[in-house]
């Protein structure tokens, strides 16, 4: 006669089944959490892209960016100023593809910095997309550069962009941005790069804008 309860083999099979199911559920939860974290990071990155592109297309933000000066009175974005404002003493040059483009410190229209600058805690964002000065909390960093192309001289009949247009505005500027995970050792998302071109005449900078 068999004693009440499970046989040893039945108990082992039952434990193995329960163990297998537990592992499956744990794996599912892990996958779900990984997917959620990845989704949150993607969402944040998309949000940062949208905010930056909106600012870089906003004439008020561009004018704010070209007006901003550091505490020593030097412009953060001299190339942007020269190529948008033109005027006496300006030195705008068409970007040469074998040189490095200058850094652009993009500010929004209210004057808050959006992109990074060496020596400053600007352009760092946490996982939720909030700007953070506490770099240990940063999950993303946003950097930008600016290029310009001078307008063809209508009188020459060739329509090639000239290498420089000293004293005049460029025809358009190009803003290239990179949003990368921070620190750079984190490799779950590759850096995202994009470029925006803006016609200078659409910025509408006037004498009072170019202070």
């Amino acid at each position: 006669m068999r004693a009440p309860g499970f046989a040893l083999a039945e108990a082992i099979i039952a434990i193995a089944l329960i163990g297998g199911l537990t592992l499956l559920v744990a794996q599912m939860i892990t996958l779900s959490n990984t997917g959620n974290n990845y989704g949150v990071l993607l969402g944040t990155r998309n949000q940062l892209v949208a905010v930056f592109r909106q600012a870089a297309s906003d004439p008020n933000a561009i004018i704010t960016s070209l007006q901003k000066k550091d505490p020593n009175g030097n412009r953060y974005n001299q190339v942007l100023y020269d190529c948008v404002c033109g005027g006496a003493g300006s030195n705008c040059e068409t970007f040469k593809s074998d040189t490095l483009p200058p850094t652009l410190v993009m500010f929004d229209s209210s004057g808050s910095p959006l992109s990074s600058l060496s020596g400053q805690t600007w352009g760092y964002y946490d996982a939720a997309g909030n700007a953070t000065n506490f770099i240990a909390n940063a999950a993303f960093t946003l950097t930008a550069t600016v290029i310009a192309e001078c307008a063809p001289d209508i009188k020459d009949g060739i329509f090639d962009p000239p290498p420089a247009c000293h004293g005049q505005s460029a025809e358009f500027i190009g803003v290239r941005y990179t949003i990368a995970r921070y620190p750079s050792t984190v490799t779950d998302l590759k850096p995202l790069q994009g470029t925006l071109f803006i016609n200078v005449n659409q910025i509408g900078a006037t004498g009072s804008s170019c202070l």
Binding site: F159, P161, G194
Partner: protein
């Protein structure tokens, strides 16, 4: 005394297997849905970003100037655009006739000596009659594809799911008023409506389409049914492109 038989009954085994199968099916379905939902959100966001980028670049006179002027040897890449923008052929531009064209970047690469490098001018779209709704990837232009993150990519990478197509529709200017216009125009509409043909157009309308490539449906058919292409239109004054007046 009656003894309990050893092992499971057939009913117990069947019920257990059925329960495990249901659990596995639910789990796999859940995981599959997470992937599809994420891909749809990511794809929609990327598509709209590419769309807004093309809306901007298509409206830039410098991009259209480069596109009109680009040539291999003496053969223009986009002859109809060249005609309508630069007035190369007398009355060679027809109002309302759509032509496919290759859009180039507005940035004209220049080396440190100031030499322009037309061969490095970047193509950003493929030619297609956008209004026809039947644009399909052109094999030769493989450098204008974008992956699900919006980065440029090249087939056969299965992540290359977006391609952008462009066409343009010119509009000629209205007939010029006589040297001594009458005090009261009997048919003012004649001086408002565009002429049927002209040498240089007044405006051009650029049609662009951010399309999902056939790669997507082969990789994930369910995604292809949700994530669809998106088209847009911008209008640019020809004088801003070539400095030519319409005539």
């Amino acid at each position: 005394m009656k003894t309990r038989p050893k092992g499971f009954t057939i009913i117990e085994v069947v019920v257990t297997l059925a329960l495990i199968s249901i659990l596995l099916t639910l789990t796999l379905g859940y995981i599959s849905n997470i992937g599809t939902t994420s891909a749809v959100f990511l794809g929609l966001s990327t598509r709209d970003r590419i769309w807004s980028g093309f809306r901007q670049i298509s409206s830039m006179p410098a991009a259209l100037r480069n596109s009109a002027r680009m040539a291999f040897g003496t053969t223009a890449v986009n002859p109809p655009l060249y005609n309508c923008v630069y007035g190369a052929t007398p009355n060679g531009c027809a109002t309302g006739v759509e032509s496919p064209f290759v859009l180039y970047s507005p940035y004209y690469p220049m080396d440190s000596s100031g030499n322009l490098q037309s061969m490095n001018l970047q193509i950003v779209s493929m030619p297609c009659l956008v209004s026809s709704g039947s644009c399909s990837p052109a094999g030769a232009l493989t450098n204008v594809w974008f992956d699900v993150f919006g980065n440029a990519c090249q087939p056969p990478d299965p992540n290359c799911i977006f391609a952008v197509y462009t066409s343009f529709v010119p509009t000629c200017g209205p007939a010029t008023l006589p040297l001594n216009p009458p005090a009261n125009l009997i048919s003012p509409v004649n001086y408002l409506q565009p002429q049927a043909t002209c040498t240089t157009a007044d405006i051009i309308q650029v049609n662009f389409l951010v399309a999902l490539t056939s790669t997507l449906s082969s990789v994930k058919a369910s995604l292809a049914s949700i994530l669809t292409g998106k088209s847009g239109t911008v209008v640019v004054r020809v004088k801003d492109i070539s400095f030519n007046d319409p005539y």
